[in-house]
């Protein structure tokens, strides 16, 4: 460079993989012109565990737990896609009650996911309080997960042929501790005196007012709007070209939701609305997700009412996929054999291929399953919405400012468990 001249050159900046706004392990290499992005090259795969290959080496049922670990904030939705693919190839259908339970838990999962999203996205953009509020409600729903499956996150609750067990008839209560005591303890336990459905009734009656609280903090917040309105605008054509689904597509005004268009489980019987954006920017997608929480709340209430009125089996009486009860196992030779075969060898799935998709909170989560008739899948491919969304990063953030990249990563709702698989 000559002395006295003011030549400005682009420089390359590395973002992540260890950065709190990277939502896990995203490494982003950006070419910058001052504060403006010229090119963004996301490096993914730092969390690649080879889930698909592992699933090919195990009997079908043993991989359900891996599905929880893909998108680890919408666990049961991932299980749903995998289980649905197996059920299609087996030609079986879960009992009606199990389908309602799945619908209910898919929506509980959607709220869990969106709470995580609203908290962390607000935190990325400088609003700390929302995170604390969102995790308050997340905790209640985590308790529901724990009550039904024994695990707060990695539930392994859905099984081919139904769900692992029926809803518990009592909710565990909190004991006195330095963190929960006095009036506070009484208040949280007052919801937990009856069954799980009673708890969900109380929760869903209260939840819309909680959503109002988040909206109070953000929707008309000047700083929030400055950070999101007009940022990351995606046209409907662009969204389709880049294989976007879920809120990323609906935020751009395309009314496409698998729960309405290609209904599975019991969504055809549910009364709910699909929020659609107008401008396709980060703010519209924020509004869509907030409204989706309210709609999920509606669906949960409908499921709770049905489940209360209709007891019944939650698992098929099909010994090839469902284990016999412990009592039968002790008395019945056949039951013992079935139990042994199921837990050692598993079941064989007829040869064929299928693609099962569910409307996961982040978009279309699909499972392409190829079986050659064996007790292990021949090929499992998991179509993660975040993978398709993130690939459009370069196209969308070009010309944006560096700080907007953080808004964009937030609005993609990325979880690297599913992007990297």
């Amino acid at each position: 460079m000559k002395a006295g001249s003011t030549e400005i050159r682009n420089y390359t900046m590395n973002f992540g993989p260890q950065h709190p706004a990277a939502h896990g392990v995203l490494r982003l290499v950006m070419e910058m012109d001052g504060e403006t992005i010229v090119r963004a090259d996301p490096h993914v795969g730092l969390l690649h565990r080879g889930t698909e290959k592992l699933a090919e080496s195990k009997p079908f049922n043993q991989s359900i737990g891996y599905m929880d670990r893909l998108d680890y904030v919408s666990m049961m939705c991932n299980e749903h896609a995998y289980v649905k693919a197996i059920e299609t190839l087996l030609g079986i259908e879960a009992p009606e009650r199990a389908q309602y339970i799945r619908t209910m838990f898919d929506e509980i999962t959607r709220i869990l996911n969106h709470l995580m999203w609203i908290g962390s996205n607000a935190l990325d953009l400088g609003a700390m309080a929302v995170f604390l509020y969102a995790f308050r409600e997340r905790e209640e729903l985590m308790d529901v997960y724990e009550a039904v499956s024994g695990a707060r996150m990695h539930a392994t609750y859905y099984r081919p042929g139904g769900v692992y067990r029926d809803l518990p008839d009592r909710m565990p209560q909190y004991r006195e501790s330095p963190w929960h005591k006095g009036q506070d303890l009484k208040r949280i336990n007052s919801w937990r005196e009856g069954s799980m459905l009673d708890f969900l009734d109380a929760f869903t009656a209260d939840f819309p007012s909680k959503v109002d609280e988040y909206e109070e903090l953000l929707t008309s917040n000047r700083i929030w709007k400055q950070r999101t309105v007009g940022i990351g605008v995606i046209s409907p054509e662009l969204a389709q070209q880049w294989g976007m689904t879920g809120v990323m597509l609906r935020g751009s005004g395309v009314e496409w939701d698998l729960r309405k268009k290609q209904p599975y489980a019991k969504y055809a019987e549910m009364d709910f609305d699909i929020p659609v954006g107008v401008g396709g920017d980060c703010y519209d997608r924020y509004l869509c997700r907030v409204e989706e929480m309210r709609q999920s709340n509606r669906i949960i209430r409908q499921c709770v009412a049905w489940l209360r009125a209709n007891p019944g089996p939650v698992m098929l009486k099909n010994f090839k996929v469902a284990p016999p009860s412990r009592v039968d196992m002790k008395e019945d030779m056949e039951a013992l054999i079935h139990h042994f075969k199921l837990f050692t060898e598993g079941y064989c799935v007829p040869a064929g291929e299928t693609y099962a998709a569910v409307e996961a909170p982040k978009g279309e989560f699909g499972c392409y399953l190829v079986s050659d008739g064996a007790n292990k899948p021949f090929r499992v491919h998991l179509r993660a919405p975040g993978f398709a969304h993130l690939s459009s990063m370069d196209t969308i953030v070009r010309g944006h400012m560096l700080a907007d990249v953080v808004a964009m990563i937030g609005t993609y709702d990325l979880v690297f468990g599913e992007v990297d698989r």
Binding site: G45, T88, W256, F319, E345, Y355, Y368, A388, D420
Partner: protein, 242 residues
């Protein structure tokens, strides 16, 4: 899934493309198999023509058909001493790199499978393209038709070594920087080739050959009762009270 057209998707495809596509519909899922040389023309037509309008490419993945339909444990034939109890074969997880299966008994190993979605027509279509040469699997890239396929093709290249002709940036995507091999191929060992640890003496992360042994807990087996008819009969016999 409700299709909004009067004729079925398979009929429309057959009418438009004739022998170019090998169409089958199983469980309301339509699959079309085609030659790699026809892929780009067919894909463009599927995206643009009003009868199809597959504006979204939802998914693309590679498949390695090596060992399709092979079992490790024969449960079909019986000899005078009863059923076989031995496990034979080299299915996934049983070999390391040195002992990987080498003879290719599969005529065409690699395929690229595409899932398309038409938002207008509310229908899906699966396309399958086999690669002609197993030692150098090549299919045309779809990035010019659906730009969103970019990363999916990078993934199929990374994991299966399928080359996408015309792809603008065919780099590895999921595996480590400097990774060797294509890990999802059926002849790539499940245990991998290298492991990583921090070496306190050299004060850096080092790569070493894997120290774990290949191990499989459940043999791979194919049984005829997979249609579950038998299961239903047994359920009727033994749990009459239900």
């Amino acid at each position: 899934m409700s299709d909004t057209h009067p004729t079925s998707l398979a009929e429309r495809l057959a009418a438009r493309f004739g022998d170019t596509l090998d169409i089958s519909t199983v469980r309301q899922e339509t699959t079309a198999e085609l030659a790699a040389s026809d892929l780009l023309a067919v894909a463009t037509a599927l995206r643009d023509e009003p009868a199809f309008r597959f504006t979204e490419l939802v998914d693309l993945c590679g498949i390695d058909y090596l060992g399709y339909g092979q079992t490790e444990w024969d449960t079909q034939t019986i000899s005078s001493t009863g059923f076989s109890r031995g496990v034979e074969g080299q299915a996934m997880g049983r070999f390391d790199w040195a002992g990987r299966p080498r003879e290719a008994d599969q005529p065409r190993r690699f395929a690229s499978v595409v899932h398309l979605l038409s938002i207008e027509g509310n229908c899906r279509l699966r396309l399958r393209v086999f690669c002609d040469d197993d030692s150098l699997p090549v299919v045309p890239s779809l990035t010019s038709v659906w730009p969103g396929v970019n990363w999916f093709e990078r993934e199929a290249f990374d994991l299966y070594g399928i080359l996408f002709d015309g792809h603008p940036d065919l780099r590895r995507i999921l595996t480590d920087y400097g990774f060797v091999g294509h890990p999802f191929r059926k002849d790539f060992p499940l245990i991998g080739n290298v492991e990583v640890r921090y070496d306190p003496e050299q004060k850096r992360v080092i790569y070493e050959p894997v120290s774990i042994e290949p191990r499989v807990l459940v043999p791979r087996t194919i049984r005829d009762d997979a249609d579950l008819m038998q299961a239903r009969a047994e359920a009727a016999d033994h749990w009459r009270e239900n």
